[in-house]
């Protein structure tokens, strides 16, 4: 009982081959699109890599890039094969390659699906990575003289300016971090010494933020220091406080940015996956139809095409048996007549006769 059985006349077979040839070429283009999407995502992640603590997110663009390249190659080959399938003689060239090709394409199509799903599942990992990465970046903001960390200040400032955000969850994160290096603190000043002494770990903490947190929408010049002290500034009303700094946290800003990109990429990849599935189905029908034509012997006759020769359960069982037998290849085979199998009659032992060998002198 074949799955999805259809009958194809000669003309229908040729039409199918032509249509598939065109679809394969379109698939090459979609493969190139997939590749470019992967490259775009990689570049976007690379830009703000310094505020991410781990680089596991690189799996997503890498998968997209490899599947894109694979798509171009596989569909290019598929185009050639389908073009040759219009003629029964030329098909014989590809006869042995067809089955492996279909299996390869099936696996590749599932890779595309995986790539699409990864775009959606990676979200939580990204959030974790950004939380840790931003916390470290803020901690090392002041270390512009330490090799390996000297550009963190610039990166974080540019991030806050571009994404219009401040701190990890909000601007108050800056109050918990010493972001002014000791090099620029006047240790002889009593104010500075008092502040340092009042902190358990000897850090210089203050209710101030870097200049990059300043909002351009504020009607008044930016208030960076003594933010919590409303009496320190003249006419520092509720509205001034709301508009003064960026309210959003940078983690949220980056999450929104990357989620938006990955959702649109994921949607595009899903559409490409559906298209590839369509092409795969067509190629499978073409393969089975051509093989049946050759089996029938008459190139002009009608032939059947199917997705699976037997039902799903039977195919699964036969494949399983094949795999099982592959493993048995190196074991002893019970049916081999050349090997002595102990039966009930051999309980009588046949005594061995000594053979006299005449000794020639």
């Amino acid at each position: 009982m074949a799955v999805g059985k259809l009958t194809f006349t000669k003309a229908e077979r040729e039409k199918l081959a032509e249509v598939l040839w065109m679809l394969n070429w379109i698939s090459v283009v979609t493969g190139a699109i997939l590749l470019s999407l992967g490259v775009f995502l990689k570049v976007e992640i690379q830009k703000w890599q310094e505020v991410m603590s781990e680089h596991g997110i690189h799996y997503v663009p890498n998968t997209l890039i490899t599947t894109g390249l694979a798509a171009c190659c596989i569909n290019f080959l598929g185009g050639k094969i389908c073009l040759d399938c219009t003629d029964t003689n030329k098909f014989l060239r590809w006869k042995l390659v067809m089955m492996p090709y279909v299996i390869c394409t099936f696996f590749f199509t599932s890779c595309v699906l995986m790539g699409a799903l990864m775009c959606y599942i990676i979200r939580s990992q990204l959030e974790e990575s950004l939380l840790l990465g931003l916390r470290n970046a803020m901690r090392y903001y002041k270390d512009t003289d330490t090799p390996g960390r000297c550009y963190l200040k610039k990166t974080l400032d540019l991030l806050q300016i571009q994404f219009q955000c401040c701190g990890n969850s909000g601007y108050r994160d800056w109050f918990q971090v010493q972001w002014i290096s000791n090099r620029y603190l006047d240790m002889t000043s009593s104010l500075v010494v008092d502040r340092l002494r009042s902190n358990v770990e000897g850090r210089y903490l203050m209710d101030g933020v870097p200049f990059s947190c300043c909002s351009t929408l504020s009607p008044r010049p930016c208030i960076q220091y003594h933010i919590s002290n409303t009496s320190a500034h003249f006419n520092y009303d509720q509205q001034s406080q709301q508009l003064n700094l960026w309210r959003r946290g940078c983690r949220q800003a980056l999450m929104d940015h990357y989620t938006g990109i990955m959702q649109s990429i994921g949607l595009t990849v899903l559409l490409i996956w559906l298209f590839e599935l369509l092409v795969l189905t067509g190629v499978r029908y073409l393969q089975t139809a051509m093989e049946n034509v050759i089996r029938l012997g008459d190139p002009d006759s009608e032939s059947d095409g199917w997705i699976l020769e037997n039902s799903l359960a039977e195919t699964a069982r036969s494949n399983f048996n094949i795999i099982k037998n592959l493993g048995k290849c190196y074991q002893v085979d019970d049916d081999d007549p050349n090997i002595n199998v102990p039966t009930a009659t051999t309980e009588q032992e046949v005594p061995s006769r000594q053979v006299q060998i005449p000794v020639t002198s």
Partner: protein, 364 residues
């Protein structure tokens, strides 16, 4: 003596027509390119229109857009002429039209050349415009409550951060302007009262800059206020501090940006001029060759193609005579004026009679 003449066999004519058809479609693409270039330039200029005082520089993108559109139409016509040149019955209807086409096409090339020249010549005007515009922007920075000026603060902040610049010429421009609004100054404070009193116009000037002047590449947190006072900050020297704020002035930054844009479009525009000129010349050759073969009885025979029928000087003389005759149609014709009252023009009548007398005496 024909200028730059070339022999054209029938096959060569066909080749020329085909080549020119392709070239004219290429020229249509170039026209589209020029149009979008003009559009892009205009969009970029409009984006910063708030810090520009006048819009003289807008003539460059305007001409580019006009020329782009005109050249699309002109070159499309050229491609139609090429198609018809292969068919002897359809070509003659373009005859009268072609002279006008040549004039328009040469005018377009000339306009493109002027655009290239203007983009350099108008640099001074752009500089003036930016100088005044930025000065006003800095002056009205504090007026976030005045309608019509309330967005100046945001504009200037965005500009300084995007172009990494500060002030008009440099950051000291901010020292000469009150950029903190009176609404946020505590007039009961002694410091503020002293400062205002020390200034002639009663303005609150300080040696500080807005936050948008801060340079993120600086190793230390940004110092915005009391910049000239070395003792106000630990380990700080006003004279040698280079990384704290942006050193560039916004006027220079913007001019560099716009000149860079126009310079990079220069080679593109020059190659478009070249393509257009080659279309003009090729079409002239095609026109003369086809007209020549039409004049001959044998349509398959050879004909000559040339740029000008007579030499350059002779063509110029011919043109001068034509123009003068055209202008003379507006003047009074002397032979027809004899019927009109001679009293109104006695000198002319006596001239005529003396002329006639002079002409008759030698005969007798």
């Amino acid at each position: 003596m024909r200028l730059l003449k070339m022999k054209f066999t029938q096959q060569r004519q066909v080749r020329l027509a085909q080549g020119l058809w392709l070239l004219s479609w290429l020229a249509v693409m170039c026209g589209i390119f020029v149009f979008f270039l003009g559009l892009y330039l205009k969009a970029e200029l409009l984006r910063r229109a708030e810090v520009m005082d006048n819009s003289e520089i807008h003539v460059v993108p305007n001409i580019l857009m006009m020329v782009g559109l005109a050249s699309i139409g002109t070159n499309w016509v050229a491609s139609r002429v090429c198609q018809d040149s292969l068919d002897m019955s359809r070509f003659p209807r373009w005859k009268a039209f072609l002279l006008a086409w040549f004039v328009v096409a040469t005018l377009l090339c000339f306009l493109l050349l002027t655009v290239v020249v203007l983009s350099y010549a108008l640099q001074g005007s752009l500089e003036e415009s930016l100088k005044v515009g930025l000065r006003n922007g800095i002056r009205f920075y504090k007026d976030t409550d005045v309608p019509g000026r309330c967005f100046q603060k945001e504009t200037i902040d965005h500009l300084q951060m995007e172009f990494r610049c500060c002030g008009n010429n440099n950051f000291r421009d901010w020292f000469e302007v009150q950029w903190v609004s009176n609404r946020y100054l505590d007039f009961t404070s002694k410091d503020i009262k002293d400062r205002i009193r020390s200034n002639v116009d009663g303005r609150y000037l300080l040696d500080g800059v807005p936050f948008s002047c801060c340079n993120p590449a600086s190793p230390r947190p940004c110092l915005q206020y009391r910049l000239t006072d070395n003792s106000a900050h630990h380990s700080y020297d006003y004279q040698s501090e280079e990384l704290n704020l942006y050193n560039r002035g916004c006027r220079k930054a913007l001019i560099d940006y716009y000149m860079g844009l126009m310079n990079s479009t220069g080679p593109g525009v020059l190659s478009v001029i070249l393509i257009q000129m080659s279309v003009v010349l090729s079409l002239r050759y095609l026109q003369t060759a086809v007209e020549g073969s039409l004049a001959l009885e044998d349509p398959e025979g050879d004909s000559e193609g040339y740029i000008l029928e007579k030499g350059l000087k002779e063509t110029f003389e011919d043109l001068k005579v034509k123009v003068l005759t055209f202008l003379k149609f507006g003047q009074v014709d002397p032979s027809t004026a004899q019927d009109s009252p001679e009293a109104s023009d006695p000198e002319k009548a006596s001239d005529n009679t003396t002329g006639k007398a002079a002409s008759t005496t030698p005969a007798s």
